[in-house]
Subunit: 264 residues, 4 copies
Amino acid sequence: MLKILFIGDIVGKPGREILTERLARLRTELKADVVIANGENVAAGNGITATLAKTLLGSGIDAITLGDHVWDQRGWDDEIDDFPTVCRPANLPESCPGADHVILDIKGFKLAVFTVLGRTFMGMKAECPFLCAEAMFKKLEGKADGVFVEVHAEATSEKIALGWHLDGRAIAVLGTHTHVPTADASVLPKGTAFMCDVGMTGPYASVLGREVAPVISRFLDGMPKRFEVAEGDVRISGALVDYDEVAKRATEVRLITVRRGGGR
Amino acid sequence: MLKILFIGDIVGKPGREILTERLARLRTELKADVVIANGENVAAGNGITATLAKTLLGSGIDAITLGDHVWDQRGWDDEIDDFPTVCRPANLPESCPGADHVILDIKGFKLAVFTVLGRTFMGMKAECPFLCAEAMFKKLEGKADGVFVEVHAEATSEKIALGWHLDGRAIAVLGTHTHVPTADASVLPKGTAFMCDVGMTGPYASVLGREVAPVISRFLDGMPKRFEVAEGDVRISGALVDYDEVAKRATEVRLITVRRGGGR
Amino acid sequence: MLKILFIGDIVGKPGREILTERLARLRTELKADVVIANGENVAAGNGITATLAKTLLGSGIDAITLGDHVWDQRGWDDEIDDFPTVCRPANLPESCPGADHVILDIKGFKLAVFTVLGRTFMGMKAECPFLCAEAMFKKLEGKADGVFVEVHAEATSEKIALGWHLDGRAIAVLGTHTHVPTADASVLPKGTAFMCDVGMTGPYASVLGREVAPVISRFLDGMPKRFEVAEGDVRISGALVDYDEVAKRATEVRLITVRRGGGR
Amino acid sequence: MLKILFIGDIVGKPGREILTERLARLRTELKADVVIANGENVAAGNGITATLAKTLLGSGIDAITLGDHVWDQRGWDDEIDDFPTVCRPANLPESCPGADHVILDIKGFKLAVFTVLGRTFMGMKAECPFLCAEAMFKKLEGKADGVFVEVHAEATSEKIALGWHLDGRAIAVLGTHTHVPTADASVLPKGTAFMCDVGMTGPYASVLGREVAPVISRFLDGMPKRFEVAEGDVRISGALVDYDEVAKRATEVRLITVRRGGGR
Ligand SMILES: [Fe+2]
Ligand SMILES: [Fe+2]
Ligand SMILES: [Fe+2]
Ligand SMILES: [Fe+2]
Ligand SMILES: [Fe+2]
Ligand SMILES: [Fe+2]
Ligand SMILES: [Fe+2]
Ligand SMILES: [Fe+2]
């Protein structure tokens, strides 16, 4: 049995801190063989830097994925290629720097990881996530023993359709980007673990990790505001997938929530 | 204590049937004092008709709300005003037919119910849900003992911000429209029950209630397809809010899931 | 000198009729060597059929291009491959029926024609028009003496950027889709003719070819309306490009407007 | 006869400079009685400042309107109320600073000016422009002898529908925002001058006023770029409306283009 812990969008300092404090213990508690995390909001809510990527990889995360905020931090496009266990969304233009997937060796099991961006309601333009996923599976044939897919998207329809489309081919299709965990964890009929969104890792007394007051104010008058990362009710949010390498199917997937200063 | 059961978007015949079969029993099991349901997808997935509204109201639902699919069925705009316990979204233009709220009398407690549409990523244009909610609260002053708010929206940011904005004023701010239940049920600090989405009532072996194959096919080639309502894994999805009329705050909110042929 | 007449989105019966009445004469007046027309709104405003495609090709149009309305008429996906001088947008998924370009032989000059859809503010999802155009130019190398590009898009930024990007490579980059002709016809520095939009061919006493009253009504109350094709002030709208095959550059481009019952 | 010159979105330094150089002469040449200009891109392409507003008002512009970039410059929200001849879009939330209209006295004729933002494909959320325009006309009754309306919007459908809706009530409904002038200037049947877009005042060897290369690069790889204001082919673009105060209708509207170092 392979146990994969996938952690949703890490937001700012609170998100980084709770991982430093709790990830090692959580890994042990869950008997997780591998930890993958989305780091697109690590740097004060926007993007990632080389320094922060190193911190995360040093705190027990094995691979970092990224979403539409991938290029928010200046200079990261020059640094991303230094990180063999960090990948940018696979359906960005080929000319973009960064790997389109990561392969991790877990006790001899070669686990491929890639992210596709959705196209519905997304500001960043990307190639078709369905066709990109097809191409990635073809590319990974013979190189990986199993493939973990993250779908970083807004629309539930696009995420769910991709889950069904890859059912039986992917170990898991897990969603991110909305920063809100969904209550729909399930193993699809052909054995792929699915969840619309695993939520964010950061302050939940917030709007998607940002202070509440300026966001409300912005909705009310439409005027620009500074959206600082919030501080209250910090949680790790993610999903744990149990994968049976012999049967070649996921047997379970469930939402994992850890509250700062509290338990699961 | 007032127990309010709110049922998410009822999709097609499977959605109607599971309610006919199970709602009466569920109501008893949950000791629900009142049942509110979103009916925007009742008619083969699109809109509602007078006949179907009557069926729902006869099967144990006390009030029906509607979303962006409100006008999908021809003729409903002429019929909606015959239904005193049905309301259309409050932030549509004033000239639209239909009530912008419903007031229910529950053992002497006057419960007002209204829906606002989000504006982010929504095809239907609507006035500002934040300002509309303000105006509705003003309008309902002295007429209701408590206000239940549905936010029918795509973006998690808009839903969460509205929840915080109405915290302490609304009994609950519960989301619909994405057709996927979220795992974030909570009572906000000032006593308002909140949840990003209560999910849909209909077939879950589907994409938002529709058959899987044509939706995937559409994502792959972009060509028009018929999207029939699916049939498998039918569930009731909703939320139960416990409201303390004396303390004037919600004390609990939790996701309710009932599987056809199964329990909760 | 090669004179290319490009006619913008033909809308419904009025659009077809003015072409039957006036195109032959216009062709002579302008000494046009070839006529290309966008036919995405030929069938009552939505899409095209085999019968209508034949009518257009019989009335003096040499090649028909299509936009986001390409699949609006049922059955057309089975018929499009029967038409060697009709092409669908090139940046649709490869699995779509229809050719992604047309090659016309004009007195020995091989003119390639293709359309790309924009991605900004467009409902139909398409692959990157910039990368698609690159790929098309590569594919057409050695097969065509010159390439005519239509950009069927909403956003002026995307159209203008594509014009500059293909400057010196395309004979012309001419826009369609907004149904409003722009006053920006120009030959870019390296010799490509450019115009943001050549306008529609159909009734101008209208909103984009549709009757005015229901469109206004829809904007006011958001309720569904039937949008019939309008009838008043019918015009041909297009652009005439003069291309110097020896210098390999366009020397002029100008808006062509013909009013029904009137002159230019 | 009242001659109104309306100047489209002034972009950065090149836009300001050509006005300083040429506006006085242009005013004389056209015998314009009044000059209105959209100033939303005056400050390096984004927004406006008090200093720049003063410069414009000192260079022969009588009233400044604004669009979705209204709040781009920090501090302007505190300054806008100092300018009685500057207005922000009328369909922003009431709580926003700034006037929702300007009234100019032209030889005894009281000309009201207001802008509405479109809602289709616009990032900034606004109330319904159709209902807002209705409300503004009501509000201005008895206060103005004529009303000039700017529609700052992306979609041609929304602009054209608003033109028809206000036909006979407004002196003119002229569009801005796309930065590309349209070739559709016309007086509608009941006497309102209409044009989808009057274009921008700034460098046309550009993409909407910005340097070409970084915009193309951004479309190709989706990565952030600095978009500096361009420099080549600077033009004034606008429209001249002839209004007959006795007949109470516009008699003509035409596009005005002035090239730097050149004539009209
Ligand atoms: Fe994120
Ligand atoms: Fe994201
Ligand atoms: Fe729904
Ligand atoms: Fe909905
Ligand atoms: Fe069209
Ligand atoms: Fe189109
Ligand atoms: Fe502008
Ligand atoms: Fe604008």
